[in-house]
Amino acid sequence: MNSQRFGLSEVKITERRNVPQNAIMILGFPDVGLVGVIAASHLVEELNLTEIAYMDSQLLPPLVVLHDGLPHSSVRIFANGNLLLAISETPIPAEIIYPIVDALIEWGKNKNVKMMVTLSGMPAQDRQEMQELKVFAAASTPEMLKTLEGKNVEILREGYMVGPQAIMLQHTSNSGRPALALMAQCFFNYPDPEAAAAVLKGLETITGVKVNVQRLLEKGEEIRLKVRDIMKRTQQELQRQKKGQEYDVPLYVT
C-alpha cells in the first residue's frame, strides 16, 4: 500500500459562481445502499440547486460526467441561498479519501458553513423485513450531540465507521468544528431509495432543511434501475475500504 501522504494542494475546488456564506454543507457520496447519492441527487432536483463549484484533482480517476454534451467533474458542489451540497457520481477511491475530505472541510471553513452533514447508510442484515427505517447519527462535538436530543434519530453510541463520512467526522472533531453524520438503515449491496427518504426526513428534523420525499418514493423502482452501475462500482470500492469492519464490535478502551 502506497504510504505517500498526498498534499492538500493537489485538490482544488474551483468556483463557478458566488458561494453563499453561513450555509449548511451536506455531503452525499456513494456508500452502502447509495443512500447518500440518492438523497443528495433528490435534493438537487427537488430544491432546484445550481452547480456553483467543482473539484479538480489529479488524484481523482480520469473521468468526467457529460451533461448536455459538456464535461463536468465527478465531484460537484450545488447550492441555493442557504444550502451547500457536495455530491460525487462515482465512489471515492479508498487511497484518496483523506485529501478529498480535507479539501472539502477546508473549503467549507472558508465559506463559514454553519455545520457539515454527511448522508449515508447503516447496512442492516434484515432490511427486507423492516417497515420503518431508523436513522442513526454521530456528531463531531458534545455540543452537536446535544442538538440531536429529542429529534427522531438514535445516537450511535458505540461502533466503527468506515469511509469518507468517518474521516469527515474525525477531522471536524479535531478542529472543533460542528458536524454530523446521519445514517439510515439500508441494504448493503442494493440501492435503497426508501433509506434515502428516511435520511432526508432525519435531516429535516435536525437542520430544518425541508424537502418533499414523495417523488423520491414514487420513482423508487426507476432509481433502482438507473443506479445499478454506480452500485456495482461502489460495491467494489467498499470492499477495498474494508467496509465490512462496520459490522464489528469494537473494544472501546476508555
Binding site: Q128, P191, E221, L225
Partner: protein, 135 residues
C-alpha cells in the same frame, strides 16, 4: 473455517466481475442486467437479486446446468433507453436477465425461491462429498 468461505466467496465475485467489462444492458435482446449478490454459507448458497418493475409471477429462475442459474423477469412496462440514461443508442428494454455461475457444487433440484418487494432470494443446498460439516 468461516474465513475460508469468505475469501472463496470474494474470489468468486471478483471472478465474475473482472471477467469481461461490458455494459449492463443488451439492446438486441432488450434486456437489462439486474444487481445480484451471492452469499455462501457452510450449508447453502443464497443468491439475491434486485428486480425493480417486476411482479412475482413474471420472475423465472432456471438451472442451466449443475452450477449455473438463469434469472429472467419480464418488466411491468417497457423501459426506453433514454429513461435509463443511455443517450447514444435508441431502444427499449422488456425484461431483466442475468446468468449466475455458482462456484461450489449445489443441488439445483432443491432450489427454493422467495420474492418480496422486488427482491428475489434463491436458496440452494450445497452438495458435499463428505457430508455436511458440523456447525
Amino acid at each position: 473455517m468461516d474465513q475460508y468461505f469468505d475469501s472463496f466467496e470474494k474470489w468468486a465475485e471478483r471472478f465474475q466481475e473482472e471477467l469481461a467489462e461490458k455494459p449492463s444492458w443488451n439492446l438486441k435482446a432488450c434486456t437489462i442486467e439486474p444487481l445480484r449478490n451471492m452469499h455462501i454459507t457452510p450449508t447453502e448458497v443464497i443468491i439475491t437479486a434486485d428486480l425493480p418493475f417486476t411482479e412475482k409471477d413474471a420472475v423465472k429462475v432456471k438451472a442451466i446446468d449443475d452450477n449455473a442459474l438463469e434469472i429472467t423477469a419480464k418488466m411491468r412496462r417497457k423501459i426506453k433507453s433514454e429513461e435509463l440514461g443511455i443517450t447514444h443508442r435508441r431502444g427499449e428494454f422488456h425484461s431483466l436477465h442475468c446468468q449466475i455461475r455458482i462456484p461450489t457444487p449445489v443441488d439445483t433440484s432443491k432450489m427454493k425461491t422467495t420474492f418480496n418487494k422486488g427482491m428475489l432470494e434463491i436458496r440452494l443446498p450445497r452438495r458435499h462429498r463428505r457430508g455436511i460439516p458440523a456447525e
